[in-house]
Symmetry: C2
Subunit: 319 residues, 2 copies
């Protein structure tokens, strides 16, 4: 038997054929076309599943279940996307029902960041750990939590919006409507915004020069400038690291996981990001020096985490 | 069979005889004498248990188990107080072992705020709810979390330090060593500190007059002044309510409980505290208007919650 995992992204849909042990055997990708509305997105998911199955050379009857990791708030009990704000009209759509109607296999849906965390536990950097927090530093800040080896989704699967914990009361306006959310300081977008601001404010700095010469300014730009000795860049990365760490300390103080994984584009900065975060978290967590702090490491599966996790979520849920 | 719950406080020890259904049948109290060291505290606990049993007219052999709610970080697996900072030398003390050695009954230990949350679920304002967050606004901010009807204590029972989530990066210095913790803005102590500061800064205000005339300035002082129309007091209560709410929104976004209970001295302010908090949380939680927000209510058991919860924790744990 095979398990299918679907990573439903804003730009592309990735479908994976996954083994019973959580190994990704085959992957197929199509465009999401989110702007064309829900019906198009659903038929693209179906097409992508059918193509993956056909290309890998199996039949849909060899598929035990299908798991979908979707952005937004999900009712995983009914497989419904309650609201995914970057999809047109994706409000109260029973994705599980719609897919199941057209492909006669059981379908489960969870939040994409939740699935990524489960994927890393089953087959990635958190393998062997039972209590895990994973965060993804991308356009926003996503998160997933595993407690006692099982995905924790919050009450009625509507929780674990880890990007939306406050770090500065009354601070930056967040897309969720609140001010001061962690996401507005710790996302890749926030880092790039601060990079541009500080480059503009210090036109003679090395940072400004590197920004001007860069084809695309991304999270790497300011870390590179800091490494080359630019004090303006160093101030930006220090500030960024402090904000990422503050949120991680909150999650440490509340969940005290064995390990925290950091994923998303920014995690490619590796030790120059994670080294200082480890130090900051160790020094500032509750009971520092007395209570063990979590390991902190990079997620290793990249985008495949969501696919594997979605497949395993369905496998575990649809018993 | 009876169950004993012990609420180990900094000033007094309260022992309760609790029924199998979580009803508090009898209560006995002695002084903690925390300053005299661990040995004295332990023998006071023993004395208090023995007195409670004798006064209620049962024998210790009628007691199925003993639960202790202790401040500090607890390893509930071994019944050890890892660190309770306001007790002299209470570091790595196996309270369960010490009590069990002298009274031959099974003993379990958990954090006092955790026990209070469980107590409210078993016999108080959260009865009938399975997903609950309870916070206590006192000298500090304590918290407990119940998930699926069971106490959630964090990894190795070292989590759920709800007072130590950040609300202002770089803000007020907290006793835990970190800056900006929720506790430094939302505790009763924080409210009283702000009351005194603003009364001093506005000597002609009604608040200043009421502070000067008060026998003891407590949380009620500023709420009373605000109700009588003092704008200085109103600004203090508004600010306080916003800080309490910000932390509750974090807990909502992460746990999405069915109900949030507020306990501690400040909760006596009733609707003039809870009314505005409800509004603030409803308006600023993630997915406001789309995802249900938790009920928010006062805890009803007061100090008895910790006793009942400790007894029920031991009953559930020591199977």
């Amino acid at each position: 038997m095979y398990y299918i995992g679907v990573d439903l992204g804003g730009t592309k849909i990735a479908v994976g054929i996954v083994s019973v042990y959580g190994k990704l055997l085959y992957k197929y990708t199509v465009k999401t076309e989110a702007d064309k509305g829900v019906e198009t997105v659903i038929s693209n998911i179906i097409k992508c599943i059918e193509s993956a199955v056909a290309e890998y050379g199996i039949s849909i009857s060899n598929v035990a279940s299908i798991g979908i990791g979707s952005p937004g708030v999900i009712d995983s009990e009914t497989g419904t996307v309650i609201a995914a704000f970057n999809f047109k009209d994706m409000i109260n759509v029973c994705l599980a029902g719609e897919i199941q109607k057209r492909i006669n296999r059981p379908v489960a849906v969870s939040n994409d960041a939740n699935c990524a965390a489960l994927g890393e536990v089953v087959a990635g950097a958190a393998k062997g750990y039972s209590d895990v927090v994973m965060i993804t530093l991308g356009t926003g800040v996503g998160g997933g939590i595993v407690i006692n080896g099982e995905l924790y989704e919050g009450g009625r699967s509507r929780g674990v919006e880890l990007g939306h914990i406050v770090v500065n009361h009354g601070g930056n306006l967040c897309s969720c409507g609140r001010r001061g959310c962690w996401e507005t300081y710790a996302s890749a977008s926030a880092l790039i915004k601060r990079t541009m601001e500080e480059a503009a404010a210090h036109p003679d700095s090395l940072l400004a020069k590197m920004v001007a010469e860069a084809e695309t300014v991304n999270g790497k730009t300011v870390f590179n400038a800091a490494e080359q000795g630019c004090p303006v860049a160093k101030a930006v990365t220090d500030e960024y690291i402090s904000y990422v760490s503050e949120g991680l300390i909150d999650l440490t103080n509340v969940f005290r996981p064995q390990i925290i994984l950091i994923g998303g584009g920014i995690s490619n900065e590796g030790e120059r990001l994670i080294g200082p975060i480890k130090k900051y978290v160790a020094e500032n967590s509750f009971g520092a020096g007395i209570i063990e702090v979590p390991h902190i490491a990079r997620a290793t599966l990249g985008n495949d985490a969501g696919i594997i996790g979605a497949a395993m979520f369905a496998k575990r849920t649809l018993k």
